[in-house]
Amino acid sequence: MLDRAVTGSQKYWGWLIFLLILMGIGFACYLYQFKVGLKITGMSRDVSWGFYIGQLTYFVGVAAGGVMVVLPYYLHDYKAFGRITILGEFLAVASVVMCGLFVMVDLGNLPRMINIMIYPNPTSILFWDMIVLNVYMLLNIVIGWNVLSAERKGISYQKWVKVLIYISIPWAFSIHTVTAFLYAGIPGRHFWLTAIMAARFLSSAFASGPALLILLCLIVRKVSKFDPGKEQIRTLGGIVTYAFILNMFFLLLEVFTAFYSQIPGHMHSFIYLFWGLEGHGSVLAPWMWASVAFAVVALALLIVPATRRREDILAVGCAAVIASTWIDKGFGLVIGGFIPNPFERVFEYWPTVPEVLISVGVWATGFFILSVLYKIVVSVKEEVAA
């Protein structure tokens, strides 16, 4: 099937070359960072994780979100999703690759990464995160590939694949739960020390993952002869709506606990993120308010059935969901946890140009893999239909 990836239109090749250029720029910036050190980023003694780890967190969510097409099909026998489970699985693969790369570019000493295997520490959540993410990626590659090959040959896939599929469903929940535990078990970072963190992560994952999937389905329909289907997109729209309402509800629960209890540590990061703290303005405030604005737009467009059921408006709603969750989780959540610092002083963070270019390089790598995998899927689907 791999041959399907190397035969394509000029547009397909142009897109891949465009991504390769971005990957090249990102890689060059990474070589510079590798040589000089992480001081080329905006991170500091006080905000010791930044954009990279925020993006890791966000894309674990997108990866987990793929299960929202797999679960209804395999557990509830919702037949319509059979057409697009493969798109969810391959989106998960590309997302996990991005997660891995974001961790790698964040490490101070990449060659020593092998130490996680040589001296594993079972009490470290990072160790478990590495395991669950890698296994999830493998599961999705193996499942996706086998199901697609079977479809191409017009036969049904082997029984053992089904076993893997059943494993992959709870596994999707595990990757984002473990990622939430990276934050939720740390004493002294009040913003993160909340039992609802994993639930928040999952709800935002099940909103942003399927939202991205809807946009991808619409693109696939436009650029190929394979139509993911009207019903499929409509059902996904419903899933995005419920998950996003839950996500906003969970966020408001946090706000209530912080501000009704009036415990300073619980309020500080929120106050910093939206208004600035102790005489310092906040560079993140415009972004955080934008996240709220996107959320309001998304809720309005998605909750009203008349707008949600129109695919063009649904697309706008999904884009708003992605923007809102991306700012909230990919940016505010990680950086907000570090501000104020353990001395209750405010040191701000803003990513530098090389830091952003390295991140663009990682995104480009993810989208390169996604494009190649989707190209194979689309070719097979077109072939089977013909």
Binding site: L110, N115, I118, T123, G188, F338, P342
Partner: protein, 266 residues
Amino acid sequence: MGVDRRGFLKIAGISALLGLGGKTAIDFFAPGDLEASMDAVPLTEGKRWAMVIDMQKMDEEMMDKCIEACHSEHNVPDLGNPKDEVKWLFKEEYEHTFPGQKHDYIGDEVKHKNFLLLCNHCSNPPCCRVCPTKATWQRKDGVVMMDQHRCIGCRFCMAACPFGARSFNWGDPRKAPKELNPDFPTNLGYPTREKGVVEKCTFCAERIAKGQLPACVEAANEIKENVLTFGDLADPDSGVRAILRKHYTIRRKPELGTEPNIFYIV
């Protein structure tokens, strides 16, 4: 079995050919052996090392002397840039050292009075819990130790430490500005670090192994005795236990349950 001279040279030779070096090579070819031979270095006899800092007797000059002694003992360079600063022993104002204790009516003198801060060598250290490679771990004598040569630079420990005691080498410490660090490395007997690893106070593990007091305590003692007191909490007859019996002392953020082992007389 430990690594003898012959074995060491053999591993070193093969490693050099493969382009590996140092402890990594030994860990790779003879896992555990170097640790075993390191165990042979007599551990200090303490079971729970701790420090009491008497802030009533402490002054700015003394703090500066202690910091200088610590940072030159451990080759901590001055980077001339607060964003990338590495600090093992440092000063912070009262209201920021004990943020839970501040109120609107504290006199300015107390509010802005500097305290001497270092790793708390917690009995229940979250940093060791989160480290994915055991590059930071708690020794039997309570010292929260740091292996800068195993650390992968993930900075999970920095997120986990509620005391801001950990620093990361954002740049290469060996390339610290020459004009600020004319004689770096200040101590040829202590290793310098690569960029991209975390470091922190180790209670001068290398000195207590030789039966010496930590560098900061020694520096303080040269000015005035009993301002910094280092000793074993597990020993009821130790100096630290005597002071803790006699004086009212406080610790930073005890409510988090990390059990800090640095006590302040205020």
